[in-house]
């Protein structure tokens, strides 16, 4: 019973990633592709937290923390480096 419930849960979370990545891979513009950092920052972290809930291993929370942090760093860096002009700002 529990296996079935958790299997369904993991299926939903992976389906979320799959559907999002369809747009990311097709995305007509560059920004659409980089929305992957937002998608992975929430979806991937959610997957790791679901693993934590199923196995009760504490290290999944640390992994989730690192995942959320670095997906954000990469997203901000993309917005500033790729979308900006060099030496812009001050």
């Amino acid at each position: 019973m529990m296996d079935l419930v958790y299997g369904l849960l993991l299926f939903l979370l992976v389906l979320n990633l799959l559907l999002g990545l369809v747009r990311v891979f097709r995305g007509p513009e560059l920004v659409d592709s980089m929305m992957a950092s937002l998608l992975l920052g929430t979806g991937g972290t959610a997957l790791l937290l679901a693993f934590f809930k199923i196995t009760k291993e504490a290290y999944y929370i640390n992994l989730a923390l690192g995942f959320a942090l670095l997906a954000g760093v990469v997203g901000v860096a993309f917005a500033i480096i790729i979308l900006g002009k060099s030496k812009d700002g001050i």
Binding site: L15, G20, T45, L49, K56, A58, I61, G72, V76, F78
Partner: protein, 92 residues
């Protein structure tokens, strides 16, 4: 037991909100509305998932770390969404 059932229910609600965000990402027409779908729905769904994990453990250190994950995820979601939209409008 009641907590366990509540926790699994929260997890499912969160997963469905995340899924809604992804469907919005596929179906909406232009970049700004896609950004909107992703940042709104995903943050709500992620909140539910963190809540469900908080209900399923009873260690204080886990609670603190889960709250930090939640804070980080929502603040980065807002920041990245803002930065992408702002920069795209200005330069692209």
């Amino acid at each position: 037991m009641a907590f366990e059932i509540l926790s699994i229910a929260f997890m499912f609600i969160g997963a469905i909100f995340l899924l809604a965000g992804s469907i919005g990402l596929i179906r909406l027409k232009d970049t700004y509305s896609r950004l909107h779908a992703l940042t709104k729905a995903d943050v709500l769904g992620f909140g539910f998932i963190v809540l469900s994990c908080i209900l399923s453990t009873d260690l204080l250190s886990h609670w603190i770390k889960l709250l930090l994950v939640w804070l980080l995820a929502i603040s980065y979601s807002a920041l990245v969404g803002y930065a992408l939209a702002n920069r795209k409008k200005r330069y692209a």
